[in-house]
């Protein structure tokens, strides 16, 4: 297990390093100099040069890369070109919207997918199964931002139960949760459809195993065998997908945040891209990639801890 952990850890570090390099290069080749963008087209060349020096843009690229990576290791993400505030602070503020949103969506999608998947698997080939599978086909085909618009049309405009967008802040937690509800539903639906399919097929695989026949032969009812033996074994692939979905939801919220005018990480990326606030763009993207890579790493380790066979396959 130690060897496996070390090997995975090395590949984690290498992935993060390569990712940071790719992000830095992509953002750096972007046309448009932040300093001249901030000062407008009438700025004097000397002023631009002075601002470039102030922002630290005049040093060679590799030094800026090293400074950026080194800073992130110590929790210092640099200072936003546009707002002159620490990037770490800006990200932290936005995370208070994006993270609860992703968690709400993940909870919702899990709460829908578990019962639906179990129900469909237990009634394989029957009307209930066909209905659930049909619904999931529809679920994966619906673009979440369009579904979000329909939710707004129905629940905000016609029924007036929710506000159509915006975020009141966490001073009033109930209001805040309420404003995240429609976005969370919109995000959760396609994910729930995928998770339901995984849950169903994973359960079906297990139901065909010999030990399930043994369980039935021992005298357990179908229901008992399902709950006591099948479910536990079927959870492994389901957990991977849940792990993947969390990072996906964090990043995938970008478009939904646009629909509901939520001040999350997605809005921050768009804003900083249009303002050429390169350091913010780099840091937010790096943070999202970091989240994906680390979640995958944790899922891998958790597996290997549960199932020793997986340690062989590195």
């Amino acid at each position: 297990m130690l060897r496996y952990t070390l090997k995975r850890l090395t590949s984690l570090v290498v992935s993060l390093l390569v990712a940071s390099l790719v992000i830095f290069l992509v953002v750096e080749v972007a046309p448009g100099d932040p300093a001249s963008y901030m000062l407008g087209i009438n700025a004097q060349p000397e002023t631009v040069a002075a601002l470039r020096a102030e922002l630290g843009l005049d040093v060679p690229k590799y030094q800026r890369y090293l400074a950026w990576v080194g800073g992130m290791l110590t929790g210092d993400f640099g200072t936003s070109y546009t707002y002159r505030t620490p990037v770490a602070q800006m990200i932290a503020d936005r995370l208070w919207v994006s993270l609860p949103l992703a968690l709400m969506a993940l909870t919702l999608s899990t709460c829908i997918a578990f019962p639906a998947g179990i129900y469909a698997a237990a009634r394989r080939g029957q009307a209930g199964d066909v209905a659930v599978m049909g619904a999931t086909q529809l679920g994966v085909a619906v673009p979440n931002f369009w579904f979000a618009m329909l939710l707004v049309l129905l629940f905000a405009i016609n029924l007036g139960w929710f506000s159509a967008g915006g975020f009141p802040g966490w001073d009033n937690p109930l209001q805040a949760l309420k404003s995240l509800t429609l976005p969370a539903i919109a995000l959760a639906l396609p994910q729930a459809a995928i998770l339901t399919r995984v849950m169903r097929s994973s359960l079906l695989d297990i139901l065909g195993e010999d030990f399930m026949r043994t369980a039935r032969a021992k005298g357990l009812s179908r229901r008992q065998a399902l709950w006591r033996h099948a479910l536990r074994n079927a959870l492994i692939p389901v957990l991977t997908i849940i792990g993947l979905q969390f990072s996906f939801l964090l990043a995938g919220a970008i478009i939904i945040e646009q629909v509901f005018f939520l001040p999350g990480l997605g809005r921050l990326i768009f804003q900083s891209i249009t303002q050429r606030d390169l350091i913010v763009v780099e840091s937010v993207v790096m943070l999202l990639v970091f989240a994906v890579i680390v979640v995958n790493f944790i899922v891998d380790l958790a597996y290997a801890a549960v199932d020793p066979r997986l340690r062989q396959r590195v």
């Binding site: 992935s15 046309p31 085909a141 369009w146 618009m149 970008i254 891209i273 890579i293």
Partner: protein, 271 residues
């Protein structure tokens, strides 16, 4: 042929047909504005109504289908064009340095949240249909590379490959002449699925303004334009969205149906 294959193929054919037809004829002019007749609900003159500039929505959908299909198709082409050779090469030298590099590179691309990177690429290099294609296409490469490698690895252990090696064929020739044709079914099915994901991705990108630019109609931007009109005229938001859903649904059903049809053994395993 199963019901899902028939239904899926029919839905897909309708949209592809509409896109092709739009080159020759559309019910209205997609660039002609008619402010007096704006936001009309579906009626005799405009079968699917008009948008906030009074343009005919059916015509815009037809031309928009062209954009969606072109973007998704080329993105699948990029994914297959680069991914399949990489997968074949990795399988031919399993465990070698090339295999290692290709698979690690794949893992890395998978680690990037695709939407974020697509947004980054289109934002950095300027929003356009071409950049959207590249952004979506890049993420198709590891999908096809991994699929091809997996399928090819199991083929390499088969007797007919051994026969080809005994006959003195090189690894490259075996890959092209024997491995590739035997992975074609899988690639077609995966291609259909990636195609539908491409349609969704294109819609998302053009919804946030990073896809095809005006005046080229695109489904995603029709939805973005509709967002502020949703209370006044729900049909401008509902109709383009339905088009996306039906097209994606059609492709997914076709993919499922093709898989069962091309490889009946899978069906027995699955049900």
């Amino acid at each position: 042929m199963s019901r899902s294959l028939t239904l899926g193929a029919a839905l897909t054919a309708v949209f592809v047909g509409a896109a092709l037809l739009s080159f020759l004829w559309t019910p209205g002019d997609v660039q002609a504005m008619d402010i007096a007749g704006r936001l009309q609900p579906p009626n005799g003159d405009n079968l699917l109504g008009t948008d906030h500039f009074g343009r005919d929505i059916l015509s815009m959908l037809m031309v928009g289908a062209r954009t969606s299909i072109a973007v998704a198709l080329v993105a699948v082409g990029i994914g297959m064009g680069a991914g399949v050779p990489l997968g074949l090469a990795a399988a031919a030298r399993k465990g070698g340095w090339l295999d290692e590099i290709i698979m690690r590179g794949n893992d890395l691309i998978f680690a990037f949240p695709s939407l974020v990177i697509a947004i980054l690429i289109t934002a950095v290099f300027g929003p356009s249909a071409v950049n959207a294609i590249i952004a979506i296409g890049i993420f198709n490469i590891p999908v096809f590379a991994r699929l091809t490698r997996g399928a090819a690895l199991s083929l390499w252990t088969r007797d007919f490959i051994l026969a080809a090696r005994v006959a003195g064929k090189s690894a490259t020739r075996i890959s092209v002449e024997h491995i590739l044709p035997n992975t074609a079914n899988l690639l077609i099915v995966q291609g259909t699925i990636q195609f539908s994901l491409g349609i969704l991705a294109e819609a998302g990108l053009s919804y946030v303004g990073l896809g095809a630019q005006p005046p080229t109609p695109s489904w995603g931007r029709m939805l973005a334009d509709a967002q502020t009109m949703v209370a006044l005229a729900p049909h401008v938001a509902v109709i383009p969205g339905l088009a996306i859903v039906l097209m994606v649904l059609g492709l997914n059903l076709m993919g499922d149906g093709l898989r069962d049809w091309l490889d009946p053994r899978l069906k027995e395993i699955r049900t």
